[in-house]
Symmetry: C2
Subunit: 141 residues, 2 copies
DNA sequence: GTTAATAGTTAACTAAGTTAATCATTTTTT
DNA sequence: AAAAAATGATTAACTTAGTTAACTATTAAC
């Protein structure tokens, strides 16, 4: 490892540690970070299916099924059976689910907020670009 | 949110999602990522205590105790009782533990490797600097 | 010297993941 | 067109990593 790589490794280690240690804190109303992430994701996508969620979140279909069941029971999501293929149940955020996302500040929202207080606009853009490049490279493997 | 913030949020969301989905994959010899992270952390620190690990990893002392027990039983760590304070048990990596870290590539190692294939030296340094700034800001809250 | 605090562990429990099996539906094969 | 295979979602049984509360031992404080 070069010096530059070592420094990156060091910072990235701390960064990952911080993410893992803090992203699950501050859950409110009994809604965990996982629940929140699912609702936010579905809200941003507009609609999606359990199958896709499992793929995108990298966990098994039954695991998604269980979390989604909780979110359905708590009226944060609702299902819509597809007319073309009756096996498929689309998931959408309810008004209550949308409200949750819009009124609460996610971990990512906090990072974004803090990033833009401590970085200039140019720096934030650079960081976005560089992080995006690394991510694209990782995903392409 | 400004455009720049929205773009950062978007990339960071993907980035976090990727970390969570992938960091626990590829565990080898029945050693999970958590085990690996603990051994790596202790190895890099030289020696540490359960108390400190709990604080640094942001989980409870009993949770650390249970993981450490496994690592002791599997000869990846060993304990050394402090002479000054007999309540304290220092944890260190065994040769087997060190070998594990040195011969296997952690998730962070992979990210570092891929980051430096897709970024120039200057870009990697910039990314390290910017990520470090954001992290320091988050930690200071 | 007794009381209070601290490092670590054990016990009992919870939550979120896993695989295997099942149901309903759609697609493919013959 | 009927039978067989595949697919999306769920349920059941299980595992694992975390939690809090209670305990042991040691040290610090009054």
């Amino acid at each position: 490892m070069t010096k530059a790589q070592e420094r990156f490794f060091e910072v990235f280690t701390d960064f990952q540690c911080y993410i893992l240690a803090n992203m699950n804190k501050g859950d409110f109303n009994g809604i965990t970070a996982t629940h929140y992430n699912l609702v936010e994701y579905i809200y941003r996508k507009g609609k999606t299916t359990g199958k896709k969620l499992a793929a995108d979140f990298g966990i098994s279909a039954p695991a998604i099924s269980k979390q989604v069941k909780f979110l359905l029971e708590n009226d944060l999501l609702y299902q819509e059976q597809s007319d073309e293929d009756r096996r498929i149940f689309y998931l959408k955020a309810t008004d209550k689910g949308k409200l949750l996302i819009n009124t609460s500040e996610s971990f990512r929202g906090q990072v974004t907020k803090q990033a833009s207080t401590v970085l200039s606009k140019k720096e934030l853009e650079d960081l976005t670009l560089l992080l995006g490049k690394v991510l694209a490279q990782m995903k392409s493997l």
